[in-house]
């Protein structure tokens, strides 16, 4: 079960240490929330447990460097989250209007995305599913199959522009 990728050690750089520190701080804060105290002893214990978990996961479960795969900055994540909440509420009100008036036109459309990273594509599909009114059915490469509650057009580009909103722009920017 030992991973063959891990035989040659990764270079230790300042960048990598900084990333580890950031993840460890996050783990320590979550540990503090779970144990309901932010006393220094608890935080240090949480940091130790988080570091051990991090190294064990790195060595035994993940076959490659996850930092390169799941690269998503902290502040970018926060901005994305707030944007997601705004979109959820906007679409929620429109869905409410459609429920009350009963104007439904459910259909499946196919849209294309310009993202090429599998992680970002799955994040986009997740956001589309979370926004009221659309559910991702299947993904295949860069094509997404989406159930759309108010299907006004079946053209992939036109539908994609309405459904994706500004998620794709936010995800494209590194």
């Amino acid at each position: 079960m030992m991973s063959s990728v891990d035989n040659h050690p990764r270079p230790v750089s300042l960048d990598r240490i900084l990333r580890l520190a950031r993840v460890t701080v996050m783990f320590a804060i979550i540990w503090g929330i779970f144990s309901e105290s932010f006393a220094p002893g608890q935080l240090i214990l949480g940091a130790i447990v988080g570091l051990v978990t991090l190294f064990a996961t790195d060595k035994y479960i993940l076959k490659q460097d996850y930092v390169a795969t799941y690269r998503f900055g902290f502040f970018r994540a926060i901005r994305y989250f707030f944007n997601l909440m705004i979109q959820i509420y906007l679409a929620g009100f429109s869905a409410l209007y459609r429920i009350i008036t009963g104007k439904l036109n459910v259909d499946v459309v196919e849209i294309h995305t310009e993202l090429d990273d599998p992680f970002l594509i799955s994040l986009l599909a997740n956001s589309i599913t979370l926004t009221p009114g659309t559910v991702t059915l299947a993904t295949e490469g860069r094509k997404l199959l989406v159930i759309w509650i108010n299907c006004s057009t079946r053209d992939p580009d036109e539908a994609g522009r309405i459904i994706k909103a500004n998620f794709e722009d936010l995800l494209m920017r590194r």
């Binding site: 509420y89 429920i99 009221p132 009114g133 159930i147």
Partner: protein
Amino acid sequence: MIVGAGYALIAFGLFFTATGVYSVLKFQDFYSRAVITSKVDTVGFTTVLIGAMLVSGANFFTLKIALILVFELLTTPLSTHAIAHSAYAAGYKVRRSGDV
């Protein structure tokens, strides 16, 4: 004041959730139910939990509710997608013209 705002948010979120439950009982075909319910339910869930955070005030209670909110937002799309994909792969179709 803040507690009052929390109560208002909770009532509003319950209204959203009630609309979702009403629509799951009212709509007649599976795909519109799948689209409408889970989503309106997400909005209602988020609003209710934000209201609960305002009511409880600034303590560990609020932070734990925030964690619940984040976990739920991460996992709800997974289950919705799994159900819709399962129905689609089995060939359950609602309309002849389109793909559904």
